[in-house]
Structure formats: C-alpha cells, structure tokens
Amino acid sequence: MSRDEREAEDVAGLFRKFGGDAKGYKEFEPAPEVGQPQGAWTLIPGSPAAPAAAIATPVSPTVVPEPATSAPAPVPTPSAPAPSAVAAPPAGTPRELDLLFARLAGQPQPAPEGGHGLMSRWRKPS
C-alpha cells in the first residue's frame, strides 16, 4: 500500500467511525510560500532562524520608521500636567525668594537683572 493509499484509507476509516461520507472529503493544499519560512521567531536576535540583519541591528521598540511622504503623526499631548513639587526652572531675574535663600545660606546674593546697578553706569575719569 502506497503512502497516498494509506492516508486515503485512514480518512475513510475515520469517516466510517464517525458516520460520515468520505467521498466529499477534500484536502487543503498548502499555501504557497512567500519569502522565507518562519521556522522560529525572527525578532529574537541570535535565534537560529533570525536573519543576519536583525542580529546586527536590533529593532528599537521606541523608533518607528515612517515613509518620508507621510504626514507627521500627531503628537499626543497630556490633558493635564503630572503633579510635581518641582517648580519651573528659574528665570533670568532673581526672585525675592532667591535673594532670601542666598542670604540665609550665606551665599553671594544673585545679581539683579542684567547686572546694571548704579555703579555699573558710573563714568570713570579718563
């Protein structure tokens, strides 16, 4: 008995066992292969079936390349800033609080805006 005959006999036996008609049985053809067979998960670098390029340059999960012609994706904006006790970075002008903190800490007082005190404009004798 050839292999095909044996398989056909197995199918007929199954149909006999469960009360069906084996004449209507049709075997699916395997799908035509596209590209390389997926023998293993190629996303895992170093796996036997992983392509060499994937090993050399692992895909970063945060970088998603986009076609140059596509419109830029909208940047998600948070609806409300996360609560934080950290205040905004200091502006150029020292605050009254900065002067107080510096004095209490024994540090030199922060210069006023632009450093243009009265003496900075005083004309020096030539």
């Binding site: 950290v86 609080l97 209490l104 800490a105």
Partner: protein, 157 residues
C-alpha cells in the same frame, strides 16, 4: 496662654474626627512602644514629603506668595495654616491648627513634627533652596500654645 492660643486650641480640638481619634492614638502608642523616637520622626518626615509631592505649590516670587501657596494646600485638606517671618539668619515658620497633636496625642510632639519638616523641606526645595538650608522643628512652646514652630536655615555647625 493668651486668648489667641485659647482660640487656636479650641479649633485644634475639632481638627480630628471622633471616628479616627482613638485609632490614631492607639496607632501612635504602638509606634512609640515599638520604635525609637528618631525612627518615628524619620517616618513622619517621609510622610510629609509625600504629602508635599501630592500637593505641589507653584513657583512663587515672594515670601507672601509662598505663604499663600502653602496655606491654600493646607486649607484644602483642613490642616490649619502657616505664617512665615524673616529673621536675620533663618525663616521662621509657625504652623497652627494642624490635627496632628489632637490625632496622636500630646506626647508625640517630638516625632510628629517631623511631618512638617518633611512637607516644608520638600516645598522649599521645589522653590530652589540651596542644599545647605534645612527645615527643622523647634522645641514646642513652653506655654502650651497649639502651634508647631519650625525654622528654615543652615544647620548649626
């Protein structure tokens, strides 16, 4: 005790609900029995830090703005209010009408004030204080006035 202190004391008695007072006092008694005071103080300091992080104060320019920012946060959770007063070498902080003394009992002031050290230190740090400046609680007033005294200044060398 002045009339003002009597008023503060009156309001302070109403800052902790009857629902939680016995629980809190038993909790404080267990803490006191099980841990050295400095450890409990450190625990309360960290709780204060968490509260301050949860209730951030926006960047302020003046002492008055900062005081108002603090008090807006305290007001929101019914935790009394603070006054700030500049001194030559420190900023004096007086916190009144907090529920801590009533909630945990009069014998816990030594470590319960660590809560305010943590909260104010975190808020001041967010305003840009140099690392040399620390918030430290001062000894409780001898006249029994219901206030917590703290100071922002350099640590004594």
């Amino acid at each position: 005790m002045t009339d003002k202190d009597a008023l503060l004391s009156y309001y302070e008695r109403r800052t902790c609900s009857a629902q939680w007072m016995e629980f809190n006092r038993a909790f404080a008694a267990e803490l006191s029995a099980g841990l050295p005071p400095e450890d409990i103080r450190q625990l309360f300091r960290r709780i204060g830090e968490r509260i301050a992080l949860a209730l951030p104060v926006e960047r302020c320019d003046t002492v008055e703005q900062l005081r108002d920012g603090f008090n807006a946060r305290w007001e929101a959770i019914d935790w009394g209010f603070a006054t700030l007063q500049e001194q030559a070498d420190h900023l004096h902080i007086v916190h009144a009408c907090s529920p801590l003394a009533m909630a945990f009992g009069p014998d816990t002031e030594d470590w319960a004030s660590g809560f305010f050290e943590g909260a104010y230190q975190t808020w001041f740090a967010a305003q840009g204080t140099p690392p040399a400046l620390r918030v430290q609680a001062e000894a409780a007033p001898a006249d029994g006035s219901p206030q917590v005294m703290l100071r922002l200044g350099r640590l004594p060398s």
